[in-house]
């Protein structure tokens, strides 16, 4: 078995007096798409923010076997983690192209231009709008830009916080289809937190269900889709 890219053990986090995560464990292996399902307030966003070093936590977070819990966000990005935050992942006052350049901020190599072109190939609409302010894009375009921006750092692991939030179903489907393609072509490992269980499980290899700060169910995506409890809770069947 290959060694995990991300291993989280007994992760606990609090916001002020409120404990949000009560010790969760999960693992992500290279080239996987792993989805974390959960309702509002289950601790999904907190989980991702813990991994990228945005909040203080206790427990263990290992990236390629190295403890990263006490690193700053900028150090964690440099270790190959990119994070698309919920909602506003773009820089509204910067042009589309500048957004992508910010994404490549940690890189000093010469291939940035090539990667920008790759982004434009993935999402041609971004090429059409490359000199527009990101703030003027539609919600779907902004999410594409946010994902592209995150990919610009050439991450090993891409964290995505509810990419489907507030988008029309058709756009979400396109977006998720591209995730699969990116996962195959660029071999980017993905950890997606979602409420939209059906879509997420369709593209995922494995999944975890987070309930009130604890992992309640875990398993292969196919198993989860057929799990009665999950069907009732998330798939409305």
């Amino acid at each position: 078995m290959t060694s995990p890219i991300l291993h989280v053990e007994d992760l606990k986090a609090t916001y002020g007096p409120v404990q949000v995560l009560h010790g969760i464990d999960f693992t992500v292996f290279p080239k996987e798409i792993v989805v974390v399902l959960g309702a509002n307030g289950a601790g999904k966003t907190t989980t991702l923010r813990s991994i990228s070093g945005m909040i203080q936590t206790s427990g263990r977070i290992e990236l390629n076997g190295e403890e990263t819990r006490n690193l700053t966000p900028s150090e964690i990005v440099r270790r190959g983690v990119a994070h698309v935050p919920q909602g506003r992942g773009t820089f509204p006052e910067l042009t589309v192209e500048e957004n992508l350049k910010v994404g490549a901020f940690i890189r000093t190599d010469k291939d940035i231009k090539i990667d920008i072109d790759t982004c434009y190939e993935n999402y041609p609409v971004l090429y059409e709008r490359k000199t527009q302010m990101a703030g003027s894009l539609s919600g779907g375009e902004q999410q594409m830009l946010a994902v592209s921006r995150a990919l610009m750092s050439r991450p090993q692991l891409l964290l995505m916080d509810e990419p489907s939030l507030g988008l029309a179903p058709q756009i979400v489907e396109d977006l998720f289809t591209r995730f699969v393609a990116i996962n195959r072509e660029q071999e980017t490992t993905m950890l997606i937190v979602e409420q939209n269980a059906q879509l997420a499980l369709d593209i995922a290899n494995r999944g975890y269900v987070l309930e009130s700060g604890r992992i309640s169910v875990e398993g292969k995506a196919e198993e989860l889709i057929n799990d009665d409890a999950i069907r009732r809770a998330y798939l409305g069947a």
């Binding site: 990228s52 900028s74 992942g89 500048e98 910010v102």
Partner: protein
């Protein structure tokens, strides 16, 4: 007519120096949505450093450049020591800190250099470049305006063409995503503070180099109000807005106030505050500023 033209010239001269301080405030506001009340005092301290260096025998423009570096480094230090630990969304502590810096810097300058006005080196050729009837366009006016435009071009280039400039704009646009893109927020803001202080120092030096003015620790008290108004007119987050705001305020000060009979001469400061009031009431995001959306 001649008088009018002369006053327009004066307006441009004054407006350019206000614009330079305003630009400094804009840089800091862009990055942290903070209005630095100590900006004028930092600039004054920088100008005094320039004067001191010049008195020690360093060539004039060399002194200006070292003075700008000095105030830039000082500002970076101030940011690290006093500003960074506060939440940018909580305005009161930050306002209080910058007011504290205002008092401290003013007092330190007065302790070191005393309150007596001193003459500042002539940065620009003296005399008039151009005389038409009674309208005199001095070299000082030309250079003051020229330097202002030059500084804006340099800043513009720095912010759009360099990596640190891009980082700076990213931070001012979206703090969270900047951190998630690997930008180190602290040093980036420090860079903004340093840049602002350097621009301010240049502004104060040019202001003090005005042949009719002298340098003294309280020289920026009035200029601060004019500059703040200029910055607000431009929307507080637009570099070129600061220039337009500065020129507008210069215009109000030396043209409008002179021609409206019921506004006495010494009311230029009040006129600036009235302009500030009108701008903030009618269009809080300024003339060129971006409108902010308030979130709950």
């Amino acid at each position: 007519m001649d008088l009018f033209l002369q006053r327009v010239v004066d307006a441009i001269t004054n407006g350019s120096t206000y614009a330079l301080i305003a630009v400094a405030m804009v840089l800091i506001f862009k990055a942290t949505t903070l209005i630095n009340f100590a900006q004028g005092e930092q600039a004054m301290l920088g100008a005094f450093a320039v004067l001191q260096l010049w008195n020690w025998g360093i060539p004039m423009w060399g002194a200006v450049i070292i003075g700008m570096l000095f105030s830039g480094i000082l500002a970076a230090g101030l940011e690290r020591a006093f500003i960074r630990k506060f939440d940018p969304a909580d305005h009161l502590p930050l306002v209080i800190i910058t007011l504290g810096l205002f008092l401290v810097i003013n007092a330190v300058a007065a302790i070191i250099w005393r309150f007596d006005p001193q003459s500042f080196p002539q940065l620009f050729p003296s005399g008039n470049a151009f005389t038409y009837n009674n309208v005199r366009l001095s070299w000082y006016s030309i250079f003051a305006f020229g330097s202002c435009v030059l500084v804006l071009f340099v800043l513009q280039t720095l912010l759009t063409r360099t990596k640190i400039g891009l980082a700076f704009r990213a931070v001012s646009s979206n703090l969270e995503s900047s951190r998630l893109s690997g930008i180190k927020i602290g040093p980036t803001l420090q860079f903004g503070w340093a840049l602002a202080a350097a621009a301010g120092t240049l502004g104060a030096s040019i202001y003090a180099a005005n042949p009719v003015l002298q340098i003294e620790p309280s020289m920026m008290l009035r200029a601060l109000i004019f500059s703040v108004t200029a910055a607000a007119l431009g929307g507080l987050d637009s570099l070129w807005g600061a220039l337009i705001g500065g020129l507008t305020i210069g215009f109000v000060q030396s043209v409008v106030v002179q021609y409206i009979p019921f506004i006495p001469n010494e009311m230029s400061l009040s006129a600036a505050v009235v302009v500030l009031l009108i701008v903030l009431t009618l269009r809080p995001s300024g003339v060129l500023g971006t409108r902010a959306v308030e979130r709950v």
